[in-house]
């Protein structure tokens, strides 16, 4: 039973509407820097667009999806109305105010600092304040998820926490802790300078604090997709989840290993000792464990569905899968993109190999494939699954849904494979134009044109996605069966305490943050000569 449909729909719609606008900016950027367009006379327009595209797609869009989905899970899995409904709305409005405060100065050219802030570059304070408001708004959700689980646990002592809620709260706590890094950077380093209270900034410390957020945020984006893998797909394709415990262990391991790894973004930074870079590199490799556990568990769950449908043979069962089902299709396409993206990620996380592609277009290609591809396609899938339950109307355009998912997959491959290739050729990222007439840059030009075509396919796919959702609001009314999550082969009757709560894993997450980040942060705080004057953009000389 879903009690607060308006609240959940408001989150999803704001997320998808912003996504629809920001994807146009992304394609515009691709086109502008391709040989299809002459050089921009005012390169700042490009950097404004990058800042807005990144801020919306990286901070606002996935946060709103996670929040909307989180409220949905809390009500559907726990079977109780959301506790703190007014707070939830307050958090939502905070995100709207924050987004407007952030995007307006960016559009005015006062904050072309890119969404990763890049101190000592400093822009107009409103941008940073807006981002802080978005984060604080999402912290309301983090608190509410914890409170709702607590209320349920008190009413159901000893009962196993539903898997979807266990994973949802893991994602919320992960975000709550990982956002602390960027919040510290904004509140204690950037905002004092932007507001005129300080005249220098410790750029190295700021970058280390940002890396605290920068990698774990990816696992926060990923959580809704993984929750859909485990708790929606097996049910939607008529199967069972292979192992409930394996799912819980995967989410717990994401909580532990997502945090102490962010310094792999700073491999080329001189302010962090090489030893810590190696430690973070090794811990990054550990993320492969929950990822591969998930791939194994989900493939096994899918096989169960196939065999229930009469699939036979070592691999013959693949044919028996319900390929017409959007959840099945989205899952398969997501896994293919996750596989390629993960393989590319092995290069990024390796201290030595990273130097060949550091700050090249490879990196942008990589995170678009993982986030825009593997994760966002599951956001689409979960929206398709949830929508009839939220609107009470039928989702009939299955053909359109198929087109949309395939187009997103093909578009993402056409976008990102040449993008990786351009990076291998050494094309730097974050530049508004390139001199393709120079000898040796022709191949880069061809690959950027291919990416532009891929991006156009994504724009069409996004339009189809929004069309399907909008049309649903005027479709025939139906009375959907009560929403259910996947059932496991062996449903948990009683769980060990470690898999029925997050305390142990939160403890490990915080302990590893201290061991892996404590010394570099303290060392940089104790280095006053690391403070440098700001470089103001878009205003003061």
């Amino acid at each position: 039973m879903i009690y607060n449909k308006r609240l959940i729909l408001a989150h999803f719609w704001l997320a998808f509407a912003l996504f629809g606008v920001a994807i146009l900016l992304g394609e515009w950027q691709m086109f502008i820097r391709s040989p299809l367009h002459g050089w921009l006379r005012n390169a700042d327009l490009y950097y404004r667009s990058v800042t807005a595209h990144g801020t919306v797609m990286g901070y606002v869009f996935p946060t709103l999806v996670a929040m909307g989905f989180g409220y949905f899970i809390s009500e559907a899995a726990l079977g109780q109305p959301l506790v703190g409904r007014r707070w939830a709305w307050a958090g939502y409005y905070m995100i709207i105010v924050g987004s407007v405060a952030a995007v307006v100065p960016v559009a005015m050219g006062l904050d072309s600092v890119l969404y990763t802030f890049y101190p000592p570059m400093i822009g107009n304070a409103f941008y940073y304040i807006g981002v802080v408001l978005v984060v604080v708004g999402s912290w309301v959700w983090v608190a509410l998820m914890g409170i709702n689980l607590y209320v349920w646990k008190r009413a159901h002592p000893g009962a196993p926490v539903p898997l979807a809620m266990f994973a949802n709260v893991a994602g919320a706590y992960l975000w709550g802790w990982t956002a602390v890094g960027a919040a510290l950077e904004l509140l204690f380093q950037i905002l004092p300078v932007a507001l005129g209270f300080a005249t220098t900034i410790n750029a190295g410390l700021s970058r280390v604090l940002f890396s605290w957020t920068l990698h774990a945020i990816v696992y926060f984006w990923l959580m809704p997709a993984y929750i859909a893998f485990y708790t929606i797909v097996p049910r939607a394709i008529g199967g069972r989840l292979y192992s409930d415990s394996m799912a819980r262990i995967s989410f717990a391991l994401f909580l532990v290993f997502a945090m102490p790894i962010g310094i792999h973004h700073l491999f080329a930074d001189p302010e962090v000792g090489a030893g810590f870079k190696v430690v973070h590199s090794i811990f990054t490799a550990m993320v492969a464990v929950p990822t591969l556990l998930t791939v194994f568990t989900i493939c096994a769950s899918v096989e169960i569905a196939a065999r229930l449908r009469g699939g036979k043979g070592l691999f013959g069962w693949v044919k028996a899968l319900p390929w017409a089902n959007p959840q099945m299709l989205a899952l398969a396409l997501s896994f293919v993109m996750l596989g390629f993206g993960g393989a590319g990620g092995l290069i990024n996380m390796s201290y030595q190999l990273d130097s060949t592609i550091h700050n090249t277009q490879w990196v942008t290609g990589h995170f678009h494939l993982i986030f825009g591809g593997a994760i966002v396609i599951m956001y689409f899938a979960l929206a398709y699954d949830l929508w009839p339950h939220l609107t009470g109307r039928a989702l009939l355009n299955l053909r359109l849904v198929h087109w949309q998912l395939w187009l997103w997959f093909i578009g993402m491959i056409v976008l990102t494979f040449p993008w990786h290739y351009a990076g291998l050729l050494g094309m730097p990222r974050r530049m508004a134009f390139y001199d393709y007439t120079a000898p040796g840059m022709f191949a880069e030009g061809v690959s950027v044109v291919m990416s532009t075509i891929g991006g156009a396919m994504l724009v069409v796919s996004a339009a189809l996605f929004l069309t399907v959702l909008i049309r649903n609001h005027s479709a025939a009314r139906v009375d959907p069966e009560p929403f259910t999550f996947s059932r496991a082969v062996h449903e948990p009757v009683s769980l060990p305490w470690a898999l029925n709560g997050l305390g142990l894993w939160l403890g490990l997450m915080i302990a590893l943050t201290i061991t892996n980040y404590g010394y570099p942060i303290v060392q940089l705080i104790m280095t006053p000569e690391g403070r440098v004057p700001p470089v103001f953009v878009g205003g003061k000389p």
């Binding site: 005012n42 700042d44 030893g275 190696v278 305490w497 060392q523 700001p534 103001f536």
Partner: protein, 263 residues
């Protein structure tokens, strides 16, 4: 949960496993890999650990003494607060008095009719840096040197504040970025030439860099050529020398025409 934590297999397994992983990765990062380097800095356990933690114990000891330049170089360090100070109130008035000695070349209100720079509305940071360089000899000018020789640092600050406070001339409408020559709007990335506008106005401005609009043609051209030849060298990191050297004659003419408003 029942029983003491240390007997619980979930606690022991997860905490113990994570701890072993941490010990292993610290050993690899701080002991094994550094000692595998054939580098005198990494000899010995303590040295390798300190180096890997980012606290080198002997780097500075091996460094050679800095090379001194045979010619005078700029010593001005510009930060956004360089010109802030207790005496900044009243600076414009004092600067206006001091500026009487400048009027014969730079105009009564900072607008030059001869081929000397127009100073009205110029950034204070830029004027201050050039005055200091004239004083130290980092920028050579037989005319300017005697005028600044006897001025105190506060005088230079006051002069900068005064000229910065004067109204800037109106730029002609033709000076937008669409009509700007390529070198001004986009530069030439493959020759390491950033757009002129990214420091000197129209796109963005940078600290200590002059606003070039409506400067006299001969002055701008002479300075660009002096940078290209290396006879003017008070650009701190040689950025203008490197840019001007890579510019073609046509690009120099085009950028000068653009900033002088086609005079």
């Amino acid at each position: 949960m029942s029983g003491p934590l240390l007997r619980n297999r979930w606690f022991v397994g997860s905490v113990g496993g994570t701890f072993l992983l941490l010990v292993f990765s610290v050993f690899v990062g701080f002991v094994w890999l550094p000692s595998a380097q054939d580098d005198s800095l990494f000899k010995g356990l303590l040295n390798s650990i300190c180096s890997a933690a980012g606290v080198p114990r002997s780097w500075l000891g091996e460094a050679s003494a800095p090379v001194t330049s045979p010619v005078k170089v700029s010593e001005v360090v510009m930060t956004p607060t360089t010109l802030d100070g207790p005496a900044s109130s009243g600076a414009v008035g004092r600067g206006g008095t001091l500026a009487l000695r400048c009027t014969m070349c730079h105009g009564l209100r900072g607008v030059s009719n001869s081929q000397t720079p127009t100073l009205a509305g110029q950034y204070a940071s830029s004027i201050y840096k050039e005055l200091r360089d004239f004083q130290s000899g980092a920028r050579v000018s037989a005319v300017m040197a005697p005028f600044v020789a006897d001025l105190h640092d506060q005088d230079l600050r006051d002069l900068s504040a005064y000229y910065a406070s004067l109204p800037r001339q109106q730029s002609p409408a033709t000076q937008d970025l669409q009509s700007a020559p390529d070198v001004v709007a986009t530069g030439a990335p493959m020759r390491n030439i950033p757009p002129c506008g990214s420091c000197h106005g129209r796109l963005t401005a940078k600290l200590g860099v002059p606003w070039l609009e409506l400067q006299p043609r001969d002055y701008l051209k002479t300075q660009l050529e002096a940078f290209a030849r290396g006879t003017r060298r008070n650009d701190t990191s040689a950025q203008m020398r490197n840019i001007a050297r890579n510019m073609t004659t046509e690009e120099i003419d085009a950028s000068v025409s653009y900033y002088t408003g086609g005079q």
